[in-house]
Symmetry: C2
Subunit: 260 residues, 2 copies
């Protein structure tokens, strides 16, 4: 594994404990390069920065051979790292360890997962790690587990267009094992909070609770709720192949004026 | 169609010509409600706003029965509209008309597509329209075509968890017809531009050109390059089902210390 070169990134920002613990641990099995947002960029989804230039500030992260703090989104960081900062120097992208789970349909909102998915779109294998604990996350044992899993999985072969999305329950529980899962469909209860400002104006918070007990095996939400590490293979082709024949059978035509 | 209630949204902002033309045209066949970003939010992907409150300012859009300019992303707008501003008043979400194409893997970066996809995730049918022309877009004929297609497609049945992503070539060309397509994999040439500021600092632009002639039927990129309207069914489950058995066969185990 000594020749393995890993790009580490995240969406909680380059100073986040989850990234720093991950880099220190992975530096024991690989050369680690870092390109991460210069501040927290959670819930940015797959946003990219097209209308402002990006800056990349060289900095130090303990264990990393080189590190840049970047004024952009997680997807920006990976684009910049792969194509400009570390060209042809990356074997594997590892995103995380995120503070909080990235499960089910919520992965579409996740900067952590989007950074890894951007790597996969650029042709590099990628793994995302998230710790399903926000209040008092302890990243050190999760970083150790991440290293162990990477050491094992790097001996296997999987398609370069597949991302491995790994969530770990909070470490205060006994882990029951590792489940290979599918993405659950998360629908929030009470998704919007309405409040009034001191001047009588209305404002809203996106919030909501995840309903419990409506996820079943092999969903990733079920796995985490039941004390398992969840591993979901993820791909980036959103085409709904089930519908191609149906829609073709509609025989849609342009209006007679050709759409003018 | 008189009882049809459409939510119109976009990512170019509530003042964008593409949205305004769409609303005027659709108001002839439906009741139109609008919830759109208060400014341009292109390339925001599926970002949501979790760490700032959202404001919704009532405003007027010609043809709309009600309209709100929202201080958030396109996905925020749809969440707020469906769950708070217009609860149980929406039959169909129409996002667009975007200034510029939303094709292939680029749909992951697209606010236009993400708004529609958010609707689908909330259980509502949704259609996204984009005009593959940035410099001098003429939205009026595209809005007319959108109305015509919606009138036809609303008579059909398709799964509520499928989004219809429609791209239209620039209107200066003769349209050849409508193709049902898959999402192409877009890899940019020269994706990063490096420049120097007046003080000797380096900055970067995400840019790049889409290589021509490496897309073939039934890709959406091919369809647009060849003068067709492209219609791609899109779903939101990123699970890579092809890999579930392979990864399960790896029989991954927790390290003996349980990951601690």
């Amino acid at each position: 594994m000594d020749n393995l070169r890993i790009l580490a990134t995240n969406d909680d920002g380059i100073l986040a404990d989850g990234l720093q613990q991950l880099v220190e641990e992975l530096s024991q099995i690989a050369s680690v390069l870092v390109a991460a947002p210069d501040r927290e960029r959670s819930a940015t989804g797959h946003a990219i920065t097209m209308f402002q230039p990006l800056r990349a500030k060289a900095t130090e992260v303990p264990g990393a051979e080189a590190a840049y703090a970047i004024s952009g989104t997680p997807a920006d960081c990976v684009k910049l790292a792969v194509d400009m900062l570390f060209p042809k120097q990356i074997d594997l992208i590892v995103s995380g360890i995120n503070r909080g789970a990235n499960l089910g349909t919520d992965v579409l909102y996740s900067g952590t997962v989007s950074a890894a998915l951007e790597g996969v779109m650029l042709g590099l294998p990628a793994i995302a790690f998230s710790l399903a604990e926000v209040a008092a996350p302890d990243f050190k044992p999760v970083a150790s587990l991440a290293r162990n899993l990477i050491e094992t999985m790097w001996q296997k072969t999987w398609p370069a267009d597949t991302l491995l999305n790994i969530n770990v329950p909070q470490v205060s529980e006994d882990l029951k094992g590792i489940k290979v899962t599918t993405l659950g469909h998360i629908r929030y209860n009470n998704p919007i909070l309405e409040r009034e400002d001191p001047w009588g104006g209305t404002y809203y918070w996106l919030a909501g609770q995840v309903p419990e007990n409506n996820h079943v095996e092999p969903s990733d939400v079920w796995a985490i709720n039941n004390g398992y590490v969840s591993l979901t293979p993820i791909q980036f082709d959103l085409t709904d192949y089930r519908l191609l024949d149906t829609i073709t059978s509609w025989k849609l035509q342009l209006p007679k004026n050709g759409g003018r």
